[in-house]
């Protein structure tokens, strides 16, 4: 099975019987829960699109491992063209879901672990790369969704992992056995975890010699013993339990995050990719972060496309589409959105080959890309709300709209242009609400701020990669300064 259908994917997740908690109780069947299902549907889209002829050129690729046709989300990039097509695929998936489709993080982890394990093995003669290749082939052959888990809770940010008051605030090895290791800790903000077959754990920061037990990377199935998840709350989340397609704005797709607890989880030796080689923790983090910062130049652009379209429709529906300031705001939104895309494409086109043979993005441009993503979606969202008008947050519920007594008044007084029904007008306003301050704002805004590293993390990388000395020399040459 090189490619799963969407329906097969849903069943495969159902069969995992994941340990998921929400609102103080364990969820019996996460695949049917109204709050979780839209998130699952977003991942399902990555399977459905791969089987559609009009999208397969981006969604699928020939495996460098098996030579078979695979979903690009399980691919190891073989060229800068692969890096570019990755960004294009992400834009497409964002357009089709208007949400986080969650599968990028595993792809980015694959590519970072692939090259890092190769270099660890060369230095230490370990077999991490071979371990990873086996896991990679297994993932490709079974078309798995893999969650890349990096972010530890981190406790006191001023202290190294080994200096924390509670040693479990960074995930660590608590026992080494002949057949594997036992790990304890947690990973926070895991968007795709409850829709993934496997979790690929990585360290979250560069580490020193005292942090040996924390320099660990591995995979386990998401239904591993002693692994469980606690779903995070989102603004407007319980609207999804009310049965109204209109009020939620995007009734089919979404994304949720979870805190994942590893409460003494066993990892067999052949699933370990890093185990105590502290000097490689930084390399793995930097490479994963670089790939993931590139990703945002695709996925958020796709969601931005939907938001710009929704804003244009909102203007049309209330008769304001021809106003010059509306046209200008739509131009500005497009300019900002395409600027994000430009840096996503640029860092891909300027990619290079690693020692292991896969391709990595240009780190400076990837960090510039993500730095823009921490800002521009907020401005796009502000302009969308400007165009939408106050009704976006004051409109009555669908139940009122459908009420025999109240409904006709809502139809009458919240009407826009004569050609469009009040319900249609409200649908597009609810979509804008969903993306800019509802459940999807978690993905479109706050995730844009903090996902793949908060803004300061990119500024540090930009500072390191910015080549300031060369720029000073350029200025000296022009100004005829000798020393």
């Amino acid at each position: 099975m090189a490619l799963m259908t969407g329906a097969e994917y849903i069943e495969s997740i159902r069969n995992l019987n994941l340990q998921i908690y929400m609102f103080g109780r364990k969820i019996d069947d996460p695949t049917e829960d109204p709050i979780l299902r839209p998130s699952l549907n977003s991942v399902r889209a990555t399977y459905d699109l791969a089987l559609m002829p009009e999208y397969e050129d981006l969604m699928t690729v020939t495996s460098s491992v098996t030579g078979k046709k695979i979903n690009r989300f399980t691919h190891i990039h073989q060229s800068t063209d692969d890096l570019i097509k990755k960004v294009k695929m992400q834009r497409l998936c964002g357009q089709k879901t208007a949400a986080c489709f969650q599968r990028c993080v595993g792809m980015d982890a694959f590519n970072a672990v692939y090259s890092t394990t190769y270099e660890i093995d060369r230095k230490y003669g370990t077999s991490y790369h071979e371990n990873f290749l086996k896991f990679l082939e297994y993932s490709q052959e079974n078309d798995l969704t893999v969650d890349g888990a990096m972010t530890d809770p981190k406790g006191d940010r001023n202290l190294a992992p080994s200096r924390q008051a509670d040693p479990d605030l960074y995930l660590r090895v608590v026992e080494r056995r002949p057949d594997g290791i036992v790990v304890r800790g947690a990973k926070a903000h895991q968007t795709g975890i409850c829709n993934s077959h496997e979790v690929l754990v990585m360290p979250t920061i560069a580490m020193g010699p005292d942090d040996k037990d924390y320099a660990v990377s591995f995979t386990v199935p998401t239904n591993a013993e002693n692994l469980f998840m606690v779903i995070g709350r989102q603004s407007c989340d319980t609207r999804k339990t009310e049965g109204s397609a209109l009020d939620v704005g995007n009734c089919e797709f979404g994304g949720v995050e979870a805190l994942v607890i590893f409460d003494n989880v066993f990892v067999p030796n052949d699933r370990i990719f890093l185990n105590g080689e502290t000097e490689f923790a930084g390399m793995l983090v930097e490479r994963f972060a670089g790939y993931h910062r590139q990703s945002y130049g695709g996925c958020k652009v796709g969601v931005g496309d939907v938001l710009i379209g929704a804003s244009a429709l909102a203007a049309e529906y209330n008769g304001a589409a021809k106003a010059s300031h509306i046209k200008d705001k739509l131009i500005e939104m497009t300019h900002l959105n395409e600027t994000l895309y430009s840096s996503g494409i640029a860092c891909s086109a300027e990619g290079s080959k690693t020692e292991s043979g896969n391709y990595i993005i240009d780190l400076l441009l990837a960090n510039v890309c993500k730095q823009n993503v921490t800002r521009f979606p907020y401005e796009i969202a502000r302009l969308a709300q400007d165009i939408a008008g106050g009704l976006m947050v004051t409109a009555p519920s669908e139940k009122d709209l459908k009420d025999p007594k109240i409904g006709p008044y809502i139809e009458k007084y919240l009407a826009g242009t004569a050609e469009v029904s009040t319900e249609t007008r409200l649908k597009v306003l609810r979509l804008i609400e969903n993306i800019t301050l509802g459940t999807a704002a978690v993905g479109y805004l706050t995730e844009s701020m903090h996902g793949a590293g908060s803004p300061q993390a990119q500024r540090i990388m930009i500072s390191r990669q910015g080549n300031l000395e060369q720029k000073k020399n350029l200025a000296k040459a022009i100004a005829k300064i000798d020393k």
Partner: protein
Amino acid sequence: MIIGIKYCGGCNPRYDRTGAVRSLASAMPYAEFRPAAGKEDYIIIVCGCPAECVDHSTLTAGREKIIVHDKEKAAEIKEQIEIRERKKR
């Protein structure tokens, strides 16, 4: 006549690619349309924008490979094929 269709990935198409192919198919009811495999009389590479990033190097058409990236060119495919067919006769 067999016509093979190969789409680009569709990340940001400037026109309705599948709609253009549907229109073409309904205008040419005598032709069989199918996903391009490389053995069709004509292969149409349907790109969404001028980047034409789809890799179609492994696809060889029996008569001609036609690449389009806008709706104007897509609308001319039928005429292009008919001219080619007339010349052949």
